[in-house]
Symmetry: D3
Subunit: 294 residues, 6 copies
């Protein structure tokens, strides 16, 4: 190249086989695809809230054709992505490719069979958001517009995949929702019914968090790991149960940070902009103290 | 289906006519479309800031052809979306479809006639951002890059639609801007001239907020409802005027939360990370007190 | 137009030649294009982390063809965008168009030659994120899913462009990453190796910030300008070195705000939700004081 | 415009309301769309030959979901195009738009109910092509590759629309097939079962042609109007039955021209490159006479 | 590459600088683009027959905005393609790139100024097709559906470009029309008003053909070069005026071949499937003689 | 469905497992894809005539990167399509899917290794077309514009695939070229060097045709099977060698039909519009006899 870039090309092409930064996979396997995962989420939404999503007229008479087709498409796409996730995780490849195909399809079918239950649970979330927001005109508006509901939908879908033992894909789905809504719910979290996130930008819910029923949290709330106690290398200790356990009927206002494997009791209300790293008793009401006028 | 999913399809297809979770609309009406609304916002931007948006060369001689065409396209697209919004709201359908068409077109025309005023007001916002940011090289950079200006543009457009009585569509537009910028301004808020939002991720401005002229707020600031006083069912009391009233020349720093129908007086400066739920006098300067070294 | 919009079209078409709000450029120059810049970032990622990005199978044997082609495409696209950036900045146009072409190509080549170094530096960031996150299963998961790595990649690319004297384009790239991840790093900031941003939504890092090696910050953290000292017009004083200087091995927890040209010493740990505007000594541990139960 | 084109724009914009060359239609009606008609033909093919067309896996278990959905899409798209055709034809518009909608939907439903019969008839055409071509390996190859079958499919679909009284649309469909295959069959022609067109480029079959069963014609064959007898203005006489009537079991070889309302008897064979303008008896074999060596 | 293809890649990459089969152009120049030329033809059609083409509602009030915009777009696109054509032709490049830009823009403007005249002439062709076809229901149907009119439109546009001295581009346009309609009119041909091509597949009209007014030709007609007289190398003699000169009011039926620089007199009628290589007197009527029953 | 179409859907969904008209393939296999085959042809053209096709700047220095990448893409795409072709042919599936994958890849590699030879042969065709056409300005114009060269390129590619034993795919490629150019060359034909097709619409070259070197044929020429001798069921006799054998240096003018397994000797010239079904001696010149003036 006249531009003298050939040396740069050489340097960039030095593929060290042992490196973690170059993903070398078999010709026949693709990487997971964010575009296909978007289509999967979109299909799932059109099944879970028919008529609201899916770009199609649908009525009581034709609903079964739509559901039938969309379930079939979901099965095909999801099987492919689950397989890609399995390949990503598996380096030794002892089990062989055919096994991965079969495993992927079994997991995809198992996920699809959970959709009616996911649908029911999501309905409780919509009802909670509608009842809790003075500005919402109808449940339909909640379903169609509210980022909280979108993030929770993706979480419930990703969480089901994770519980079925699917690697990587749940994380990608949660990051897609994070990018779309600013809400970052780790698919490993456990969240009860009637869950509401209002506005939601900046919300972080960590991997080992447990949340009860009828909980509402606002934008900027972190349910995170208390990582002051570091290991001897200065890194957070891995693998421990390190996130909060939130009871039923709790409200946490904007930008508060709840850290560590602590308990927040039933009915507690935590005001905004607070740093909470000790247990909060049931029914407590915490708010930020003092301000100072300069 | 050999996969044994037929029962799942049956369960998912049970369309209960009374449910809120299945939107059954007339064949001839479409749901509001996020894609078309994106095109609408894009057309509006190309009219409000010619040359910066719209993917077209445009100069003084050809400007009128561009504006003429874009106004015409906006009229068509906006009429369709307003009609979809009216259908979404209206369930009894007493007024009939033809009326909706006529109403939608009238509202679209009324909105277009407001564009020159919106343009003027947005120019004040750009000037304020340029004057207030040491890093900005030119007003053009503000227009082309700054998420604050994008969010405020969408807000001013959505606010005008809301004042014309258009349902749902203003909310969708504000959520689109929210997803793009992390800034969530309810279209019902009232905001004066020379308004600046810096960085902006996590900003929330509620429905009944009123903001004066020459106000600047930073990322993570919430102007929200103080919802501690709940009704007897444990939900926030609906319909009341519940958000802050911000005076002129106010600055609010990052991550602060101002809650409830309280007054923040002219010229007040609120530091970052504070929880404010009582009136702030004119000229006051509030900052977070104390920190503790462990 | 039968809709009576002709007067509106007239008003909107009044092109005042002196206005900042109408960008009139030469027919032959295009505005910078967000779509092309997305393609540029995508190509860069496929070069920096082969196999993870780029939608192509690639192995050790074919890597050089991929790198060669992608470098060539990057050169073409980047040259065009740099030229558009130069045009945007330059109004007098004394230097002439041919010079801009030549300058743009030289800067594009210079950037490409920096890619191997950028790649090395990014690898340290991936390693730091992997070591610091108990939930991460592999470095590959970090590369493929973590918004922090995406934002840092875009920052390192934009920062290199800025140091080469390219106007506007670095800011657009940083705003694209901001919109995608909620993380807003000004391309002018200086950031060392092994840098981690966890979750990241709401993070703001200002133009004159300096960050050492092995620093970790969480969502909602602001490293901003302390702008209380205003100039006589009430605006922040422009051009001064106004952002924090963070040492090595520092951790800053979620939603904290560090403001002004202050020093945070090596090994300091700053807890969440704090407002910091004075120097923090090396090794210090700051947390929010007190809460109050109502 | 600095290019001096403003006068040209003026001249081109002089819209004479009486002209045939400027189609001014109501805002709410669209022109027929070739792109949507392509989608219609594509949907029809996926219904008539499942598995061969439609980009979808389909098996015995899921076929009914596919057919159900595709019929529903066809109904929506076809109704829109039929309405556009009706608008194109109707200038007085006495009947009103609502009537057009209703009429269009009725005609679309009527067409869909004919699909099973069209499918049966097309199967005879495929069988005839397979039996008559030494190069064809399977009926599937005929369905998937042969332009003759594509042209006849489009003809049978367009012919059904024409018989239902749909204006314009059948002609557009036949021209689409003409462009794709080089075969121009007027939708008004009447064609029996087991019809074959081999290769087909240049074939023309006129509006009032009648063709029996088991007929085969080759590329370049014209079944046209004998227009030597002109009217007093020098134009072909309109509206008369002016095309050939072909019996059963006839073969016509390449590039022959059969003109006028003449009868070609059962079992006749017409060689290539002949001009035929008089009746051909049953069982006759015509070939071009003589050649001359220079 | 493990597939052993590296030698093949080597062989295919041997770029002999003197070869005609490898087009090496300057980085800044693109090849002519069929996709952009399609857009150009599409824009031209929307200007020449408003409302019929262009995917836009357009009425008397908004026509001027549409024409203005489309002329501007045509100017930009056409200038680019003309420049690409000039580059393709020009190998010595003495004149320099800036000159090519200027020349290209001048030629594009000159072409646009001819559009009103081309429009008038095309209207005569539409009238002739409508008067001459018993099956046509309206001039609108001719404009919207008839391949003959499409081919003639493209020819008249390409012919104007050729007369302005634009290389290559006219040929590409004529081949695009050839592919779409099966009608191959060399842009160098000279064709009068009221010209009709019926059906048209297989029509060929050579470079030095001259056709009078009110001529009609059918599918498969060749107006070609009589190339029996070859040069000493066995190739047709180049550069001579070698195609037919057709008078006024002539009709030529399907599949006839008229070869060489011969005169076909006014009012002559040539039947189908004939080989004509000698002069045809005015008013003559030629038909194929004899056939033979075997 | 309220439209009463449910019975129609039932009828259309009756999937008879034994029918030829419903293609039921394994979930994991796709039908051959015309879109992917278009991409394959497009890649092949960019390799065979670099710079002319492929939408990329390419020069001597970067050619090898382009060729390397395109060969790799071709390998992937071609392997997939060859496998789809093998599946289409194979109904018993004894050999198993893994075998098909391996076979497909082997055949794809074998085809790619033939590309340098195909390239050389195509160069002779371009040279012949350039030398034989008085209107051609450069070989580049031939490569870029002439449909004859496109059809011959596709033929030579399809012919190589057929000789490698790939089913179905060669036929689809030849029909794609047929649709694009109106030229229908069966991939089974054998064609020498320096072959020219001028204009070409309506040309048909049958499966068992053999053509020598330096042959030129014009539009509408058929080299077909003489099918008068039918079998006892009235169908052409299958499998026999039934098409013409054309010698070297032969010219055949427009619309002539040469039928049956007959020999056309070296240097023969056949005029237009003739029906030829007996042997033509070397050096002969045949033209249509007589016409009649009415």
């Amino acid at each position: 190249m006249k531009t003298g870039l050939s040396e740069t090309i050489e340097r960039l092409s030095q593929a060290d086989d042992s490196t973690d930064f170059f993903y070398k996979y078999d010709n026949k396997e693709a990487m997971p695809s964010v575009d296909i995962l978007k289509e999967i989420i979109s299909l799932a939404r059109s099944i879970l809230f028919p008529g609201y999503f899916g770009n199609s007229n649908v009525n009581g008479d034709t609903l079964i054709y739509h559901i039938g087709l969309n379930i079939e498409k979901l099965l095909t796409l999801l099987t492919g992505q689950i397989k890609a996730g399995l390949c990503f995780e598996q380096f030794d490849k002892k089990s062989g490719r055919e096994d991965l195909c079969k495993t992927a399809k079994e997991k995809a079918i198992a996920l699809l069979k959970l959709l009616p239950d996911i649908k029911e649970q999501l309905h409780t979330d919509v009802i909670a958001a509608y009842n809790g927001d003075p500005a919402a005109k109808s449940p339909g508006e909640i379903i169609f517009c509210y980022p909280g509901v979108r993030a929770i939908s993706s979480y419930r879908f990703a969480n089901a995949l994770l519980r079925l033992g699917v690697p990587l894909i749940p994380r990608i789905i949660s990051e897609m929702a994070h990018s779309e809504t600013g809400i970052d719910i780790h698919p490993g979290a456990t969240i009860g019914n009637y869950f509401t996130i209002d506005h939601g930008t900046g919300v972080v819910i960590g991997e080992t968090t447990v949340i009860g029923n009828n909980v509402k949290i606002y934008q900027g709330v972190t349910l995170g790991a208390k990582s002051f106690p570091l290991d001897k290398d200065g890194n957070p200790i891995k693998g421990v149960d390190r996130h909060p356990k939130i009871g039923n009927n709790v409200i946490i206002y904007s930008n508060s940070t709840v850290l560590g494997n602590i308990k927040v009791g039933d009915g507690a209300i935590i005001g905004g902009n607070i740093w909470v790293d000790v247990e909060v008793p049931a029914g407590a009401r915490l708010i930020q103290q003092e301000k100072r006028s300069e």
